[in-house]
């Protein structure tokens, strides 16, 4: 059971790291700001989500596991909102 959880944890964190890596590559290589924004939010939402998922079995107790989930939820909220704000600023700049 613990080995399985261990495996799951490693797999999820690795997948999260991959999404961060892919997001960073996108941020550096994509042609314009809107697509770069797209790459960045994927890294934030999925990458961090997977890392948090992988860390959950390693949490000391239920409270710290809950804190991890709250951190993810807050990053989701602020990431989505700032993406909207940056997107609007870009659209305005183009006109």
């Amino acid at each position: 059971m613990t080995t399985l959880l261990q495996l799951f944890s490693v797999a999820a964190i690795s997948a999260g790291a991959f999404f961060f890596f892919a997001g960073t590559v996108g941020l550096l290589r994509f042609p314009d700001s809107l697509t770069r924004l797209h790459a960045l939010t994927k890294a934030d939402n999925l990458g961090l989500g997977l890392v948090v998922l992988g860390l959950l079995p390693r949490a000391e107790n239920t409270l710290s596991a809950l804190k991890l989930l709250v951190i993810w939820a807050l990053v989701l909220l602020s990431g989505a909102s700032t993406a909207q704000l940056i997107g609007r600023a870009l659209r305005r700049g183009r006109k």
């Binding site: 989505a80 909102s81 909207q84």
Partner: protein, 317 residues
Amino acid sequence: MSVLPVLDVVLASLVIGVALFTITARDLFASVVGYVAYGLLLAFVWIRLYAPDVALTEAAVGSGVTGVLLITAGKRLGALKNAAPEMRPGLSLKILTGALAALVAGALGTAILMLPDPPPSLAPEAAAAASGAGAGLENPITAVLMSYRSFDTMLEKIVLILAVVGVWSVGADKAWGRAPAPLRQSRPYAPMVLLARTLAPVGVLIGIHIFWTGADAPGGAFQGGALLAAMWMVTMMARLAGPPRIDAQWLRMAMVAGPAVFLVTGLAGGVLAGSFFAYPPGIAKPIILAIEAFMVLSIATALPMLVVGPPSERPDQ
């Protein structure tokens, strides 16, 4: 096994790289963004140095609040430049500024390189005094801040209030007592309103939690207060709340509350506990938490007042 030292070296080079970018960036806005990234990286450095309290402060104040402050200042500078284009500093002034900055950096570097080994430290004395005062606090940082060097901590808050007074006094005579201009001129924008409505209640809760837990774990009045300040700024940016009039009684009371309660407690300590800023043993912890609660109030009101700037000449809305 030795992956951490490598990561440390990478982190250190990143900090230096971002610092160089911040100084050399041609664009003011890019430079500010570089500064914010620099602050966040520095927070990681503090974590690696096992100083989570300092890391929290650096992330909240050094990066967050200062970032907003610099961005708004940059905007105002831009508006000023449009009004008077021929205000660029001359070459001699630039050289003088650079030389002064290099002098300060050089002096700091020499002082650090010339430190005796081991460097002189007040840490053992402070730790002994903090635990000796019977503060009953689990977090030695808070014990040092509130017991060993409580006078300094109070003076820091007074500096904050003086800074707000300085910002206010930049305003025009006619504007005195009015409210500062709103942070965003445009109409409310739905995603920003949603963010403020969802984030602010959670952020306020987390801010109070960080203040409360600061007695026993990393956290404290400044970190918690900075978070509350950020939440007030978010609601002001979403136009859910306007900046208050600077002659509002509640605002001034809230700003002065922290240092005032601190000072009164300190004076009472002279009578009741034998020396200035001494706490009666046994009830030291509740007293410290009460002082900190008022300091949170002061910080949470003073920081946004620094950001929104001087009172505006336009009539209140």
